[in-house]
């Protein structure tokens, strides 16, 4: 584990400027694998989604999955790329037990999509991330190294391989180097990852579940001294598996590299591994001793030559992209830039949109998701989308509040009940008896009791200090355990005390 020294972030940024680069792997959500007919569903028993092709049995041949090619082109179009009129797969040759053929079918100098961009918003500014290429390849099997300290192949007692993942279509999206992010580098990296994930979701090409590895990042970072224009040597942190980790890995790598450079050392071009627990990286294999992949055009597959009219029709049929959608929703909902950014960062836009679609006023939908529910998600340490409550249920609660059946305090209890698995909002209301007290008789009785118990406050109100009625309303609410309609209670109190506003 790392014993390397770090330079505090602020100091590092005073002395150095970072240059970023991101490579993103996205597993496509096609029904079958890239080069055979095996299913792609996650979580099947090991080595059950396999066949002669994806096990690389002697004589087996790949055939390309047309749906995966279509998805890749759509991703390229969404990222404003040019689509190749003719390109080929290539073999990337290296030996590893989880790669059945001992070469990966990928693309080399002829990617399907190239030269695009993705705009992301950070701190109210739009940052344009240039995309170098988008290409299609196949995933490897999954190795598990048993025994040994590191969980890596070296030092393990033995390793087991699950080939279910071998051959799942994988899209690699590579940015051009990203200079000029300055101290926002970690945030820019994260914002890019977030935006890219939304693009994938919007296109419906991948479930982008980072915890299942269906979207993962390789993060490249280099530093150059302030005032220099010559980029430093970069490191590549592999397989960073959450957006938060993308941000932390950039920050950690800046701090590590700055300490080395400031101490007169040099950065080696190498791959590094990110550690969730510490937020730091440790050295993997050095690129200088890395293999020569001996790329050459894949002779088992014919070139891909997408028809230009077909590509144009795919482009025309692209769904609204996330940034355009956000602009539209912001207008529709009439919320500030700041509120919109907060919803975006909390990954709440889709939830709010669905809640509005289910009938809730935008302001209420936003209030619940960004308030009570955000608090609960935060407490539970899960994303909003994983709370056990649906936009429809939120909309139902909003409707009950609007109809006067619940007040905000009761509504919070309803939400709590739903989150606890006590059933639908209506079931929770019924089970917990959370109706607002609308029975005037019951309310009058409570008010009489509160007036009797708070004679001093009652006198203050009678003498014209109307503001003192607040304490009495509070008493009524307390006595009714929140079920009273506070507005009606106030009216009745003032009436009883013979005071008018």
């Amino acid at each position: 584990m790392s014993t390397e020294t770090l330079m505090p972030y602020d100091e590092a940024l005073e002395r150095f400027e970072p240059v970023l680069g991101l490579e993103t792997h996205v597993e496509l959500g096609t029904a079958s694998k890239m080069f055979c007919g095996c299913p792609t569903t996650f979580g099947a028993p090991p080595n059950t989604h396999v066949c002669p092709v994806c096990l690389a049995l002697p004589g087996a041949l790949p055939t390309a999955n047309a749906a995966a090619i279509e998805s890749t082109i759509r991703i390229g179009l969404a990222l404003n790329c040019s689509i190749a009129e003719w390109c080929r797969f290539a073999r990337k040759n290296y030996f590893y037990p989880d790669m059945p053929k001992n070469y990966q079918i990928s693309q080399y100098d002829e990617p399907l999509c190239s030269d695009g961009y993705l705009d992301v918003e950070v701190d109210g500014k739009t940052v344009r991330i240039e995309i170098e290429r988008v290409h299609l390849e196949e995933d490897t099997g999954k190795s598990t190294h048993v025994g040994g300290a590191t969980g890596r192949i070296h030092g393990a007692d033995y390793s087991i391989v699950d080939y279910n993942r071998a051959g799942i279509p994988l899209v690699e999206i590579v940015t051009k180097p990203i200079p000029g992010t300055d101290r926002l580098a970690p945030e820019v990296a994260r914002a890019y990852g977030t935006e890219l994930r939304e693009v994938m979701r919007g296109l419906g090409v991948s479930d982008v579940r980072m915890e299942e590895g269906s979207m993962r990042f390789d993060v490249n970072v280099s530093l150059m001294p302030r005032g220099s224009s010559e980029w430093g040597t970069r490191t590549e942190t592999k397989n960073v598996n959450s957006l938060r980790s993308v941000e932390r890995s950039v920050r950690g790598e800046i701090e590590r590299q700055a300490a080395i450079l400031a101490g007169g050392g040099r950065i080696f071009q190498e791959t590094r591994h990110f550690h969730e627990n510490t937020g730091t990286t440790t050295s993997g294999r050095s690129k200088e001793e890395a293999q020569d992949y001996r790329y050459f055009p894949e002779p088992d597959l014919v070139p891909i030559a997408p028809d230009t009219a077909w590509v144009a029709s795919l482009k025309a049929a692209l769904p609204e992209l996330p940034s355009a959608r956000r602009k539209r929703l912001q207008q529709e909902w009439g919320v500030s830039d700041l509120d919109m950014a907060a919803m975006h960062n909390a990954d709440a836009i889709g939830l709010v949109e669905a809640t509005v679609a289910a009938g809730a006023p935008p302001a209420d939908a936003r209030k619940w998701w960004m308030g009570e529910l955000a608090r609960r998600a935060n407490e539970a340490g899960v994303p909003l989308s994983e709370l056990l409550i649906t936009p429809d249920q939120i909309a139902r609660v909003c409707a009950m509040v609007a109809g006067g059946a619940l007040n905000d305090k009761l509504a919070r209890q309803v939400l709590e009940g739903v989150l606890n698995g006590e059933g639908s909002p209506d079931e929770v209301v019924a089970a917990r008896g959370l109706q607002i007290v609308n029975d005037e008789g019951e309310l009058t009785a409570i008010i009489d009791q509160v007036l009797a118990d708070n004679a001093a406050a009652a006198d203050k109100v009678r003498s014209g200090k109307i503001a003192a009625v607040g304490a009495l309303v509070g008493g009524v609410m307390k006595a009714s355990r929140g079920k009273a309609d506070a507005g009606r209670a106030r009216e009745l109190l003032l009436e009883k005390l013979g005071v008018s506003e």
């Binding site: 096990l55 002697p58 004589g59 059945p100 070469y103 002779p299």
Partner: protein, 496 residues
């Protein structure tokens, strides 16, 4: 005439007419195999019960009234690079010794469905790398014409089995001449179809962009029948051509060359060519002219650079194709004693499991693809390949087919070139351009060389998907020469 001396077409007709059963036909060939295998060693695997079981199933299908094709009940031997679910598949290599595939190659599956009965798997140069079958890990196959000579390669087991009457038909694969050259030196017919015309699915790959499955037979019609039976588009092979199979059986029946324009490739002849080979070749060209063909000389200058280009492209692809033999999922595993890493086991297995020629080509190919050398070697070879395709294209504007000797020499003695890879590689001098361009070519017997009395082959090359032209010319040559000889060339071979 005994069953083993009949043609495949005759056997198919006899079985169809109910005059003999598929079991009787299979048994006759199994008996022949038992009698001559000790001398020939054409087979790596023979399993009498499996073969007879298949034959019984064909008889049952026919008895049930199933409409089977013209080759139902005819036995066949498969080169041991086609996967078979009921027999081992080794590619002639120790690394796959005893390996039993869980699936049939498209070629074997289609022929099984057409009712052909598999006699066994034939010997070959390991992973189809060679021109003599001496590179087999299981010992050389011998030429039925002279047991001290090679039967050609890499499909030498398949050519020898047909020439020795062990099988009326066999399959082979042709990557640089591995069907045509063995056919030529054993006095039989061998066809390399258009690349993509026959499926590679289930064919253990040597060089993917060149490998082409094709037929061996003792006459042109039988070859055409077999060609037609396994050809056609296969969705499992992305490089398979989605077009109708050229009408090769019709062409073999027709055999009319009147008015056909035939080009003699100027570059194939002269130094290094055996006099007897050239003599038979020129006589055959004259024969074709006498049959009404218009013969002209055609120059294909880039053909002289085909051999070096081939020996960069084929090993490059092979170095990658053979990477899968790593002891992890199947085949030989060496050194797995619980102390060694997966990487070490891979290395030990490959060191023990591959023979010297395979290693030579893996090293050659790995080098040619290496960073810094790719452009000079692999890249340059691909440019040569384009030039060769252009030479063919230009030639086929002038003529309908091109002809040449199939090989520069007749069968050479076993061991003569074993230590001289370059001399061995020259055996494919005339056949390689066709592989690089992906077009069609056939070898048909055209006589015996005067100096050694061994068979000489005529190669007929046609454009992509012009396979029928090969059969048309081959049939004309066969008909005219057999008339002259009073029977097949093979009938002149010494009895085994």
């Amino acid at each position: 005439m005994s069953l083993i001396h009949k043609s495949a077409a005759e056997l198919g007709a006899l079985v169809a007419g109910g005059e003999v059963s598929a079991v009787e036909v299979a048994q006759a060939h199994l008996d022949r195999i038992a009698a001559v295998e000790p001398q020939v060693n054409a087979f790596l695997h023979v399993d009498v019960e499996t073969t007879l079981g298949q034959a019984r199933a064909v008889d049952a299908r026919r008895a049930a009234g199933e409409d089977l094709g013209p080759l139902a009940g005819v036995p066949i031997a498969h080169k041991d690079v086609f996967t078979t679910v009921d027999m081992p598949t080794t590619a002639g290599s120790k690394i796959l010794e005893g390996y039993r595939p869980p699936y049939d190659a498209t070629v074997t599956r289609r022929l099984r469905e057409a009712g052909l009965v598999i006699l066994g798997k034939t010997n070959l140069d390991e992973f189809a790398m060679g021109s003599s079958t001496e590179n087999s890990a299981y010992g050389p196959t011998r030429n039925p014409w002279d047991l001290n000579r090679i039967p050609g390669g890499s499909s030498g087991g398949s050519s020898a089995a047909v020439a020795a009457y062990e099988a009326p038909l066999s399959t082979g694969t042709d990557t640089g001449g591995s069907i045509r050259q063995p056919a030529a030196v054993t006095g039989i017919v061998g066809m390399k179809p258009t690349y993509g015309g026959s499926s590679r699915y289930g064919l253990i790959a040597f060089a993917s962009s060149l490998d082409t499955p094709g037929p061996f037979a003792r006459n042109v019609m039988d070859a055409a029948l077999l060609h037609e039976a396994f050809s056609g588009h296969d969705a499992m092979d992305s490089t398979s051509i989605d077009a109708p199979v050229p009408s090769v059986v019709e062409a073999a029946r027709n055999g009319d060359v009147a008015g056909l324009r035939i080009g003699v490739v100027k570059e194939f002849g002269g130094d290094g060519y055996q006099a007897g080979v050239l003599a038979r070749f020129h006589e055959t060209v004259e024969l074709l002219e006498s049959l009404g063909a218009k013969v002209v000389e055609v120059s294909c200058p880039s053909f002289t650079t085909a051999l070096p280009a081939y020996y960069l492209i084929a090993p490059s692809e092979a170095s990658s194709n053979l990477a899968r033999f790593d002891a992890m999922r199947y085949g030989l595993r060496v050194g797995d004693d619980g102390t060694r890493s997966a990487e070490e086991v891979m290395a030990l297995t490959r060191a023990a499991g591959f023979g010297p020629e395979v290693k030579r080509r893996i090293i050659l190919g790995t080098y040619a693809l290496s960073s810094g050398y790719y452009d000079a070697y692999y890249g340059q070879a691909q440019k040569v390949r384009t030039l060769i395709a252009r030479d063919f294209e230009a030639a086929f504007h002038q003529v309908d087919v091109l002809v040449s000797p199939t090989t520069p020499t007749t069968a050479f003695p076993i061991g003569e070139r074993a230590d001289d890879p370059m001399a061995m590689y020259l055996a494919d001098l005339c056949t390689i351009p066709t592989n690089l361009a992906g077009n069609a070519a056939i070898s048909v017997p055209c006589g015996l060389a005067d100096e050694d009395g061994l068979p000489v082959g005529l190669q007929v090359m046609a454009p992509v998907l012009g396979d029928d032209r090969c059969y048309r010319v081959a049939a004309a040559v066969e008909r005219a020469l057999e008339g002259r000889w009073g029977g097949s060339l093979l009938s002149k071979a010494p009895a085994l």
